[in-house]
């Protein structure tokens, strides 16, 4: 009994000691874990927060440029929002009428396009029926799933379905700028509070980790954004030059898809090839589209990416595929788009933290060795 009470007392003391010994960052990590768990169950909120963080990171350099002129950060953020509004209204006046026309035209032509694809597929099924009955049944199943009543297209293009899917999109259009505003405005204040909270002995390591992540992530995200814009513009101009319909819309699709490595250019090329095939009903323009996208990819790999992103950030192809699959499973298309930058940043952060840990251990080991040689420490160095 006495022994049991003693044991209980010991474990209670151990717990108290652990609470006192536990660095604050462990508590912060635990809090982050709980927050991540909650956010995981509110997928839309998490996606919006990640998107807002990425956008805030991209625009933080603009805010820094304003600050260099001696302007207060809050005023700089308001100026950025006003400038963005002016830019959006300007773009709305210049590009949106054409883009709107392209989308309406594509939407109007869609039943015809889908019928043509359906006919082509059924013809292929008929031709291969005798030799390959498996292919015939697969194609018929595919046509039924995609084009049939209550198939993929019917569900996707249904007005009420579009409205339902548009609701989170409209919410994101309102909430993401809202989050971006406060992230940009208050981030240095939050960082200052966080640094004040860090014990003096951890300050240098904390600052060094923050600084290295900041430099790297900023460079990566801004580079990626610029890369996507350049790819989008190149694709638009190229498609317009070879006479493919909807160049602005296809340029935007190619630019956005470019965020996803390897898969992005294939998606862009496939969509544009499909449009070219429907427009000309011949494979020659499709070949032009493929050549155009190959040229863009080559230019991107050899010139644009090394210039804008650099070679410091790269995901292993296997990790990339896993990221894409997990991202798609957890958060759909947005998971695929945001998953790669997110994992890249996480990978680099882990690398920096491990390097710091190794450096600290090495330093402690050297100090112990010196003390041991001087005869001031009874402990042999590890």
């Amino acid at each position: 009994m006495k022994e049991g009470r003693l044991k209980g007392d010991t474990s209670l003391t151990d717990l108290r000691r652990l609470r006192h010994q536990m660095p604050r960052w462990v508590l912060v990590l635990l809090a982050c874990g709980v927050a991540a768990f909650v956010a995981f169950h509110i997928t839309h909120l998490l996606i919006m927060l990640i998107a807002a963080t990425v956008v805030a990171y991209i625009f933080s350099s603009v805010i820094t440029a304003f600050e260099r002129f001696g302007i207060k950060r809050s005023v700089a953020v308001i100026m950025l929002f006003v400038l963005t509004a002016v830019f959006v209204i300007g773009a709305d006046l210049i590009f949106i009428p054409d883009l709107k026309q392209e989308i309406m035209h594509a939407y109007g032509k869609f039943p015809e396009f889908s019928r043509q694809i359906q006919d082509a597929l059924l013809l292929t099924a008929q031709r291969s029926a005798e030799k390959y009955p498996v292919i015939e049944s697969s194609i018929i199943k595919l046509v039924d799933n995609v084009f049939g009543p209550s198939g993929f297209l019917e569900r996707t293009l249904n007005a009420s379905e579009i409205l339902m899917q548009a609701t989170p999109f409209i919410m994101a259009l309102i909430l993401v700028p809202f989050f971006v505003f406060f992230l940009l405005k208050d981030w240095p204040g939050v960082m200052k509070k966080a640094i004040d909270w860090v014990p003096p002995s951890y300050v240098e390591t904390t600052i060094s980790v923050i600084a290295e992540i900041n430099i790297l992530v900023g460079k990566y995200l801004r580079g990626l954004a610029a890369d996507c814009v350049v790819i989008g513009i190149l694709a638009s101009i190229g498609l317009w030059l070879i006479g493919i319909n909807y160049p602005i819309m296809l340029g935007i699709v190619s630019g956005v898809a470019n965020i996803v490595p390897y898969l992005g250019p294939i998606i862009g090329c496939s969509v544009s090839s499909l449009v070219a095939l429907m427009q000309y009903r011949s494979f020659d323009p499709v070949l032009n589209v493929v050549v155009l996208y190959l040229a863009i990819k080559l230019l991107d790999d050899l010139v644009i990416q090394p210039l804008m992103i650099g070679k410091s950030v790269h995901l292993h192809p296997m990790l990339l595929v896993i990221t894409l699959i997990v991202g798609e499973k957890l958060f759909g298309i947005m998971g695929m788009i945001l998953g790669v930058p997110f994992v890249t940043v996480a990978q680099k952060t882990a690398g920096i933290l491990l390097e710091h840990r190794r450096e600290t251990q090495k330093r402690e080991c050297t100090q112990r060795l010196i003390l041991h040689r001087l005869g001031r420490s009874p402990v042999r160095p590890i």
Binding site: G70, K72, S208
Partner: protein
């Protein structure tokens, strides 16, 4: 620069960052940043981090690998060096002073220990930010490196005379 314009100063004070401006004045008095133009100092100031230390806080220990340079904004910092078994105070630094500048050169470990003597407010410049800044700006890098060389030569001269 906007802040140097009299009209802007008069009518747009609400839009200007006066705290940063006062930090800028302190920074321009720091020997490490001597003769660096205000324009470049403003650029440098963006990446500096402010941190409060209470009296007795150890800012860094002797022998640790240095990763940052410190500028004293408020309060005072004592620099201590361990010789044999006793601690020798090398200097007490007040507002406008800097320390830890050796960390900007290579993988130098801290030469002495820095302790906040009073409650102090310090500006911390991390090495990577400095390297990032000088990589893109030859004017600021050559100026700061010259200042650093001057500071180091003063240390050597003082050491020899002692």
């Amino acid at each position: 620069m906007l802040l140097d314009n009299k009209i802007v100063r008069k009518y747009f004070t609400w839009a200007l960052d006066t705290t940063r401006e006062s930090h800028l004045r302190t920074l321009s008095d720091v020997p490490l940043f001597k003769s660096v133009s205000k324009k470049l100092l403003r650029k440098l100031l963006i990446d500096l981090i402010e941190k409060k230390y209470t009296a007795g806080d150890i800012i860094f220990h002797e022998g640790e690998s240095g990763k940052a340079v410190y500028v004293v904004l408020e309060g005072s910092v004592k620099i201590i060096k361990k010789t044999n078994s006793e601690n020798k105070a090398l200097a007490v630094l007040g507002p406008g002073s800097h320390f830890g500048e050796l960390s900007l050169i290579g993988q130098c470990s801290r030469f002495a220990t820095a302790i906040a003597e009073k409650d102090s407010l310090l500006l911390i410049m991390y090495k990577s930010y400095f390297e990032d800044l000088i990589r893109g700006n030859s004017a600021i890098s050559s100026r700061i490196l010259l200042n650093l060389a001057e500071i180091l030569s003063n240390y050597i001269q003082r050491d020899q005379s002692e």
